[in-house]
């Protein structure tokens, strides 16, 4: 669902670049807060001189937990990059591939998940020309913010009512359909093609791709956890 350059008008892609930068900055800030801790002043007052880092007092420093969290985000991002390469055939000469937003958010949380998907999208666009540069903002909004952040809360809300795997499946399906709806609105309002035509075609196709997203998300979550235990 990576929008190439040319499908959106400059106002749409520019506005979404700004919006994506804002949301991503906020998520990155939340991740930074989670992986760091403020160095207590009292501790450094006593041991600071011997460590030579008295100036760190009151500043945020990476924690042990934080290091593990970054390694985890890196691993999850690598999994998603690889899984997104796997286009599977669906009906009538069309293929689909995983987005992985729910997979990421279930493992590293909504903020981490958004950063992970946005990073994958950045690499795909910069190095592989998969998704445009100007439309990177739109792709981040659709697949990282809607596909991971928003969909995480669908999962979290459903989990209170139904079993976890069922909520993951529904959230994964939702993530693809919601992202396809957002993509249609962006393309439609850019005047590239009629809004009703693109919306109905996109949402219909992605209702099917969403089923695959649900199945693959559950499968690779199990695989991921299995691989973790083997380490």
């Amino acid at each position: 669902m990576h929008i190439p350059d040319g499908f959106l008008d400059p106002k749409m892609s520019g506005g979404l670049l700004g919006l994506a930068a804002g949301v991503l900055g906020y998520c990155l800030g939340q991740v930074m807060r989670a992986v760091t801790a403020v160095v207590p002043k009292q501790v450094l007052a006593t041991v600071g001189n011997s460590l030579g880092n008295i100036q760190m007092a009151g500043k945020r420093a990476l924690t042990k937990f934080g290091e593990e969290k970054v390694y985890q985000m890196a691993t999850v991002a690598a999994w998603i990059f690889a899984a997104q390469m796997f286009n599977f055939p669906i009906n009538s000469g069309t293929s689909g591939h995983l987005i992985g937003g729910v997979f990421a958010a279930v493992i590293v949380g909504p903020f981490g998940g958004t950063v992970v998907i946005a990073t994958v999208l950045l690499i795909q666009s910069l190095f592989f020309a998969d998704g445009g540069l100007m439309s990177l903002g739109a792709n981040i909004i659709n697949m990282a913010v809607i596909g991971s952040f928003v969909s995480y809360y669908v999962y979290a809300g459903l989990k209170k009512l139904i079993p976890e795997m069922a909520s993951i499946s529904i959230a994964a399906w939702f993530s693809v359909v919601a992202a396809s709806l957002a993509t249609s609105l962006e393309i439609g309002f850019s005047g590239t093609i009629g809004l009703p035509a693109v919306t109905s075609a996109m949402v219909k196709t992605h209702c099917i791709i969403g089923i695959a997203e649900a199945v693959i998300t559950v499968v690779i979550l199990k695989l991921y956890k299995g691989a973790k235990n083997n380490e």
Binding site: D5, L62, G66, M85, T94, S95, A227
Partner: protein, 97 residues
């Protein structure tokens, strides 16, 4: 080699060999509705998931996939390196942020 990358690398290699070549949902819709020609691809070193000097072959796709997995993992390692640099200063010169 980092064991954590075993699965992603395996998936990337399998994807490079077995992935469907059909257009994805958005590409297909753009073809059906006749606006596919409006898409412009910017130049990128591994455009189309192929290495520049190997053309469009399976080997090229496998290597591009491996490169992508490493790049994705690597960008987080770069972030970790920068965060460490600011967190554990060995001397005054590093205490910048």
């Amino acid at each position: 080699m980092n064991k954590k990358l075993l699965f992603p690398l395996l998936i990337a290699v399998l994807a490079a060999i077995f992935a469907s070549q059909n257009p994805d949902g958005l590409d297909k819709v753009s073809e059906m509705l006749g606006f596919a020609h409006k898409g412009v691809e910017h130049p990128a070193i591994m455009a189309g998931y192929n290495l520049p000097f190997l053309g469009a072959s399976k080997l090229s796709a496998i290597l591009a996939g491996i490169a992508g997995v490493m790049l994705t993992y690597g960008i987080f390692m770069l972030g970790l390196y920068l965060a460490r640099k600011h967190s554990m200063p060995r001397g005054e010169s590093r205490q910048t942020s």
